[in-house]
């Protein structure tokens, strides 16, 4: 190739730069940047809008002054950070369970793993009702049991401690366990066995051999979980009523739902929150790549078999893990079902405590059928195109190298840092203010868009992992035979990735049917999913109806989790990506 010097730059370099700018890779990056950066741009612009009702945009910093000058800003950030104490606690418990399931392979390990999947897919909002019935300060059954012993009631679910516990039991621990199980499976058993043979006790093997080897995976899981913990909304909104606006996400919701809405202030607060989360998101993205390199250097994949631990230890740990999971997952689920048969939720001092009328009222209402249809419609409309889209994005990313690959990786992970409620507000503003989007306002398109943006990181990550583990011989043969990239993807890669695609479909489907925060503000009139209706029932203090709907959604989740678990077992290491949802 001939090169000529021009202003100090080789022509070939200029040519490459131009091709890079105009090529499909750049277009691909731009397409990724729209959903990843679009919401941030909208929130930033709105935070500087000081116009009055119905007036055009007027630039100002009034909202920023108000937010930064309010004492609640610091206190809500502090509370939000304090509540993330559940992450280290969840890491410890989750690691212990994962170790028991994988390395000890305790009796019942498959059931324990499945229970974690079940908890992962359970709808959080109705499950809160189960914990309320157990740990409410005034009528909680656990408190009543303790009070029966002559002791003061120890639990209060409507407190920061109660909120931490609900997250820990229903989300943090199950998801961190799912995340760490694959990392432990990939560990070579040799050093562990060597330590045991050399006479080390199990606790010493755990602390000196296993933990150091999986430390990168644990740290990565902790970072991902910390981001999600900071942006939690529903549990805080439902259980934090006694301390209104006490975390950042609920304060943002309070501003948005004020009369009139304080949108600019909500956006300014969101922007501060987003900057913190985006920083963590970037850190996570970098850590993910670092861990990937580290894993390759360790030569993972050579182990996975059970080291020789004693039977007594395995049985004891099995009982402990079984008890923990039964108390934290099955007990509140049972309470949820029980609550759906109570005449007055949590009120046992009645002549007739139980009734089936809640079920007949819910199932007989005209809105139930519509809500069920809306739920399935949204689940399918999100999961079907989403699985294919994420597959395409993953395939596209596999063809990127160097800085472009790094940029794509960061863009894909950015939505991980979007709290659902902020994403919902951003989607609402986009659909109201962007000319091209206005025609979609009042349809379910903005909902689907919001859910796809929210699940972009996890969906693409699952597909990237699956693609990386697939033998590329057939695809290479197709390309050599003259098939184009798209044709190769559709005819070769796609069929090969069907299990991973199905798993992504289930993740998206389960996410759509249980979501509240993202779609709360953009659901078109008359379109109410079962989860939204449950949220409305609870917000309206109709717990009896909420528990009925919650039980139905939980049963749907149960079916999805069975399918996902079966697929997950077939996919092996793909599960590691799913776990990052924590």
């Amino acid at each position: 190739m001939q090169t000529t010097e021009s202003a100090g730059f080789p022509a070939s370099r200029v040519s490459r730069a131009v091709r890079g700018i105009l090529g499909w890779r750049s277009a691909f990056l731009v397409l990724l940047a729209v959903p990843a950066l679009g919401p941030v741009g909208v929130i930033l612009a709105q935070s500087f809008d000081t116009s009055g009702l119905g007036e055009p945009f007027r630039f100002g910093v009034g909202a920023w002054r108000a937010v930064l000058g309010a004492p609640e800003t610091l206190s809500t950030f502090t509370t939000s950070l304090l509540l993330t104490v559940r992450v280290p606690a969840g890491l410890a418990i989750g690691f212990a369970i994962a170790w028991a399931v994988v390395r000890l392979r305790v009796p019942g390990h498959q059931v324990f793993e499945y229970l974690c999947w079940f908890a992962y897919f359970l709808p959080t909002v109705p499950m809160v009702s189960g914990w309320v019935l157990l740990m409410d300060r005034d009528f909680g059954l656990l408190n009543a049991a303790v009070a029966g012993l002559g002791l003061p009631a120890p639990f209060d679910i409507r407190s920061p401690g109660g909120i931490v516990w609900v997250h820990l039991s229903l989300q943090t621990v199950p998801l961190l366990t799912i995340l760490m199980i694959p990392a432990l499976r990939l560990l070579d058993r040799t050093p562990e066995d060597a330590a045991l043979v050399a006479g080390a006790r199990p606790a010493r093997v755990l602390g000196r051999v296993v933990l150091p080897l999986v430390a990168p995976a644990i740290l990565l899981a902790g970072l991902a979980s910390w981001i999600k913990a900071l942006e939690a909304f529903e549990v805080e909104q439902l259980l934090g009523e006694r301390v209104a606006s006490f975390v950042v996400s609920t304060r943002i919701y309070g501003m948005v739902s004020s009369e009139p809405p304080r949108m600019a202030e909500a956006m300014a607060l969101s922007m501060i929150f987003l900057l913190l989360l985006l920083g963590l998101g970037l850190l996570y993205s970098r850590a993910l790549r670092w861990r990937g390199q580290g894993a390759a250097n360790r030569g993972e994949g050579s182990g996975g078999a059970r080291p020789s631990y004693g039977t007594l230890l395995r049985r004891s740990v099995s009982v402990a893990v079984g008890l923990y999971l039964a108390i934290t997952i099955l007990l509140p689920f049972g309470m949820l079902v029980m609550g759906s048969f109570m005449k007055l939720f949590g009120f046992f001092a009645l002549d007739q405590v139980w009734t089936t009328s809640n079920w007949s009222r819910v199932l007989g209402s005209a809105s139930f059928g519509a809500s069920l249809r809306a739920t399935l419609t949204l689940g399918l409309a999100t999961a079907l195109p989403g699985a294919l889209l994420f597959g395409l994005i993953a395939a596209g990313m596999a063809r990127l190298r160097g800085p472009q690959a790094a940029a794509a990786s960061v863009l894909v992970w950015l939505p991980w840092a979007f709290p659902g409620i902020i994403l919902g507000v951003a989607i609402l503003e986009v659909s109201l203010t962007f000319p091209g989007m206005r025609m979609l306002h009042g349809t379910i398109a903005p909902l689907i868009l919001g859910l796809l943006i929210r699940d972009l990181p996890i969906g693409v990550h699952v597909m990237r992992n699956a693609l990386a583990e697939t033998d590329s011989t057939m695809a290479d043969a197709a390309r050599i035979s003259g098939a184009g990239w798209l044709r190769t993807f559709l005819r070769i890669s796609l069929p090969l990735q069907m299990p991973a695609l199905t798993l992504v479909f289930l993740i998206l489907f389960a996410g759509a049917i249980r979501d509240v925060g993202t779609i709360l503000l953009v659901a078109p009139p008359g379109f109410q999913t079962l989860s939204l209706q449950t949220f409305n029932y609870i917000s309206n203090s109709q717990f009896e109806m909420a528990t009925v709907l919650g039980t139905i959604v939980a049963l749907l989740a149960l079916a999805v989790s069975v399918l996902a678990h079966l697929l997950g077992r077939r996919l092996g290491s793909v599960r590691s990506a799913v776990g990052t949802r924590a």
């Binding site: 739902s257 009369e259 005449k343 609402l428 409305n536």
Partner: protein, 373 residues
């Protein structure tokens, strides 16, 4: 909730088909109103052709309200939850950007500024049913509005608020007769209150506090907050639950809906007391109707406005909301007696725009001052 909104083309086709059938006489004549005018019939046909009306409203209205409207008018209706924060946010943002996806909103006293800025449709000129416009059908001789122009924001429901809920197994009802009785040392730390700091300042806790600031003064409010309140909560039902269990035997800022739900299930220790010295204030609850200027189905919105303010509409709404209507021909409904304003007594109307703009700001300052201590 009973009709899917997103199938716009399908809805319009359904509406057109219904209109054709109506014209052909295939749909039985509706029994309401008694003697419909040609103008009304044409309006209903136009509303049906539009595909129906979408209303953003209280989730408690439910199936009976929908069924009543459909039976009376034959116009399809979609009821969407609009009383909570997200519903209000949508109402504001869609109305101010001129892109409403709904035709009518039924909610609290929140729309003055939208009306002032011309973002709402004038409802008064849309009312064509004689039974709605005839002042004789309304208490005080005219339908109440909360906007000074009496054009945009009708308030058809009005009930007495600021009642005191007690557990009569714990507290003797005769010992709480006037507001000063709440300052009794016996009740120190035993009164629960709805949280007055709920964002937007529109909850019962804030309203009761503003009422007490106006009726009894800042010193009274300071004592109440300083020594008498044990706890506040933003959860209305929890207040009633606390009183029923005796956790806090007295509560302020409770909702009749929750009280009556507990009573209906057999909780018989609740007593509601209206204080005898200052009789509380009038609240319109979530009954204020507004129609955005950008409402997509104008005829359907007009049909709904007329029906909502008619005897039939108010009967259905008052039953669902369990609150008395200002209509004189809607009586004996399923609401508790303590909500009825007593004849001859003067109540503050906190929904009135004049009160909200001239009196409330100073009271808010008092409340903020009390809360900051």
């Amino acid at each position: 909730m009973n009709t899917d909104r997103f199938g716009l083309i399908g809805r319009r086709a359904l509406g057109a088909a219904s209109a054709c059938l109506l014209l052909l006489g295939a749909i039985p004549a509706l029994a309401w109103p008694d003697s419909p005018s040609d103008e009304w019939q044409a309006l209903v046909e136009a509303a049906t052709a539009e595909g129906g009306v979408t209303v953003l409203a209280n989730a408690n209205l439910g199936d009976d309200f929908i069924a009543a409207f459909s039976a009376d008018t034959g116009v399809p209706i979609t009821l969407s939850v609009g009383e909570h924060g997200e519903g209000r946010a949508r109402f504001y943002r869609e109305t101010e950007t001129g892109q409403a996806t709904f035709d009518a909103f039924i909610g609290g006293r929140s729309s003055y500024e939208l009306a002032d800025k011309g973002l709402l449709t004038a409802i008064a000129p849309l009312l064509i049913l004689p039974e709605v416009t005839d002042g004789a059908n309304w208490r005080d001789g005219a339908m109440p509005w909360i906007d000074p122009a009496k054009t945009y924001l009708p308030m058809p429901i009005g009930y007495v608020s600021a009642f005191v809920l007690i557990n009569k197994d714990v507290i003797d009802p005769a010992s709480v007769r006037v507001w000063d009785d709440l300052l009794s040392p016996d009740l120190a730390g035993r009164i629960a209150m709805h949280d007055p700091t709920v964002p937007g300042g529109t909850g019962a806790g804030a309203s009761v506090s503003l009422f007490l600031a106006e009726a009894k003064g800042q010193a009274y409010l300071e004592t109440l907050y300083g020594t008498q309140f044990g706890e506040t909560t933003a959860d209305y039902r929890q207040l009633v639950d606390w009183v029923a269990r005796g956790t806090y035997p007295v509560a302020l800022g409770t909702r009749a809906l929750d009280i009556e739900r507990y009573r209906a299930e057999g909780v018989d220790n609740l007593a509601v007391l209206n204080m005898q010295d200052v009789p509380g204030y009038i609240s319109g609850g979530t009954s204020i109707m507004a129609i955005p200027a950008s409402a997509p189905n104008k005829a359907a919105a007009q049909v709904f406005a007329n029906w909502f303010l008619s005897r039939s509409g108010q009967t259905a709404f008052a039953r669902a909301a369990r609150a008395p209507s200002f209509r004189t021909d809607v009586t004996g409904g399923d609401w508790p007696e303590y909500l009825n304003p007593e004849p001859g007594r003067v109540y503050i109307n906190q929904y009135d725009q004049n009160w909200a703009e001239t009196v409330e700001p100073a009271l808010r300052t008092v409340l903020d001052d009390v809360l900051s201590k």
